[in-house]
Symmetry: none
């Protein structure tokens, strides 16, 4: 059965219109008390409210009802890729998260430095309170020291005891069991292939670990490492092939640049602040049809449980809206990749507020404010996030008729 | 593509929370006049309304839009099993409905006593106004009399001319055509296998009918029987395996105990009244994570076309709510398996009111009353019933994040 992407691939047409997808990470929230308002309902958002009045609202479900998504599934859904069809391994996400440009021949691995005792058993699965400074140097030493014929090996530091390993060679399978035994007092597990096509990769990883043990032997507490989330980047159609639009991604945080890169968007230099991002948007306006702009702080303040600060960050975002509307995008969507209620200090499954503004083609829905309860009455209804791109393209006049 | 059960299987986590699913059979209704209220909207339900005010409402579609479900598909949907994927034969439902414990090697058959004339043709497909008393004795006679080597044979009475036959032996196929020709003046059809794997079963059923003809030869008008809905219980994952919860079922009527048994819930002694059921709930509170409590009379009064009585039964249910909330379930859901508008005197396709109450995690939706029109504006939206378990587990904090 054809899905929406099969249709957009066939029906897309280039009318020169421009679409901006502004993602306020973790936008959806909850009131602190049952009769209170959510963060978004509390925030003073005159610019978003004005858009809501002329536009159409709705609520999106990132994956399935009740399912709380991570950032990966959340963004894939917004980009129109079914997060259940395209599941991304942890090693791949970790590599994306440090801006590593993964290719189709790369096997990505999340590594953890650990401590091995005299008997070869793990005594600390995270190598004590290993500082990032030391860990970074050890990664450089591994990167320089490990030599496996016929294979390019990358070792890059992430944070504290965490690192990313990438093996690059043609024909490597990526399905290997974790070597982290998830407990101490036992040795790390051997890399075991889950299928014959990954057998060679398992052998290569064994050799990697053998050499790493020699290189790190005097570096206790970080005298070995374990491997998790071993995986390859799945084959995934490019954004441009599916929608016929050149896309530019303007994200400050590496993880979101990585997710944009996963669908082959052009990743632009976003600077450090929302203002830098708006500068970049203006400067690149002529170069792309579609812009993905990512704002992190609505999520991080929610994760911190800081209701007031999340409200402020939403207001900060609202203040940036005029710089976007001044560019006269044909469609501007403001939404999140999931909810992060500060009350829960975590991502949640609650549907995500969606605002779609398109001067000419929005059917009015009586909503005149951007908030969760308004969105519940919005014209887009409640819909799976993977269909958002259909709404975006339609309102931009970028989809031809289906069937005669 | 993974479905919700694939996700709950992987993501479920046991935080010790408790969920109560209170099913008021056939809950949804219709007004008697276009400007009137439904049964649920008419009923005085202060307890349900208080839950609605703090909780979240919605409407569920049991199977697909416009499809009126029987009790089987209705309940499977509520338990999170796609009723289109798990289709249960009539023989199996009939056996479940008399509390027969079907195993994986059992072929279940719905039997009808009939009258055969001197030429071997059916003269009455339901054996006249056969009383249950007589039919019951005939079933006992068949059960005792029929001997087929290598096969355990069960014959149990249901009601009037209806009975259940079960053949138990390893390796029996269950796909056999009905023997009821659906008209009189012709002989019963032979049991015909629909595939080679059911050939032996067809032979066994021929032998069963041959012996039954001898045993019943002097019992006119019930001097033979026809067979319908021949089927085995389909392989179906257990509720505990899918959700990681121990489930207790508290249902007065055998059909609903049977449906709970189908997904391997623990079927508890429910007594005869709603008050007995509440006693059982209190007594079993420590023993289970999930409780399915079934209330029949909202459906039977609807089937009778008795609007006023259905309203009273809803009020009776409302009065029991404080005994449930006193137990402090983390999630309490009140809903139906389908609608049974008394105006229609039958099940209907109309979406089913859903009330989900969870003190800490419900997003407010401005609804403060439990009724069909309120549910239409509820935060859960309109959703397939098979996703209800996702909402239940999420609000109970029993699902980990999907993807990083």
């Amino acid at each position: 059965m054809p899905d929406l992407q099969d249709l957009t691939r066939k029906l897309n047409t280039n009318n020169g219109s421009k679409i901006v997808l502004l993602v306020a990470d973790g936008l959806g929230g909850l009131p602190l008390t049952p009769d209170g308002l959510t963060e978004l309902e509390t925030a003073k958002t005159p610019n978003l409210d004005a858009l809501a009045k002329r536009g159409t609202l709705g609520l999106s479900t990132p994956v399935l009802p009740g399912i709380t998504p991570g950032s990966g599934p959340g963004h894939l859904g917004l980009f129109g890729y079914d997060p259940l069809e395209y599941q991304i391994g942890r090693g791949v996400l970790e590599a994306l998260g440090i801006d590593f440009e993964l290719g189709p021949n790369d096997v990505a691995i999340r590594g953890n430095f650990c401590t091995i005792d005299a008997n070869g058993n793990i005594s600390d699965r995270r190598a004590g309170r290993l500082s990032s400074d030391i860990a970074k140097k050890l990664c450089e030493k591994l990167h320089a020291g490990i030599k496996i014929p016929g294979v390019e090996v990358f070792v890059q530091h992430v944070k504290e005891y965490r690192l990313v390993i990438v093996l690059r060679a043609e024909g490597l399978g990526g399905e290997i069991e974790d070597t982290d035994p998830q407990k101490t007092g036992v040795p790390p597990l051997d890399p075991v292939a889950k299928n014959p096509g990954s057998q060679r990769t398992a052998e290569l990883l064994k050799e990697f670990i053998k050499q790493a043990a020699v290189i790190l032997k005097d570096d206790a507490p970080a005298n070995l490492l374990t491997m998790r989330g071993i995986d390859k980047k799945p084959p995934i159609p490019t954004f441009e092939e599916v929608y016929g639009m050149k896309a530019g991604a303007i994200a400050v945080y590496p993880m979101y640049r990585g997710l944009a890169r996963l669908v082959s968007m052009n990743v632009l230099d976003a600077g450090q602040t929302l203002s830098d991002q708006m500068d970049r948007l203006e400067q690149s306006w002529k170069d792309f049809d579609f812009f993905f702009v990512h704002f992190k702080y609505t999520d991080s303040t929610g994760e911190d449980g800081n209701f007031a600060e999340k409200v402020k960050r939403i207001e900060e975002l609202d203040a940036a809206i005029p710089r976007i509307t001044a560019l006269k995008p044909d469609v501007l969507i403001v939404t999140g990749d999931h909810s992060t209620p500060s009350k829960m200090k975590s991502h949640s499954w609650h549907p995500v507020p969606v605002l779609l503004s398109a001067e000419e083609r929005c059917r009015p829905d009586l909503c005149d404010k951007f908030g969760e309860r308004d969105c519940l009455r919005g014209g887009l209804g409640q819909f799976p996030a993977k269909y958002l791109m259909g709404f975006a393209m339609a309102h931009a006049g970028r989809l031809d008729k289906f069937g005669a």
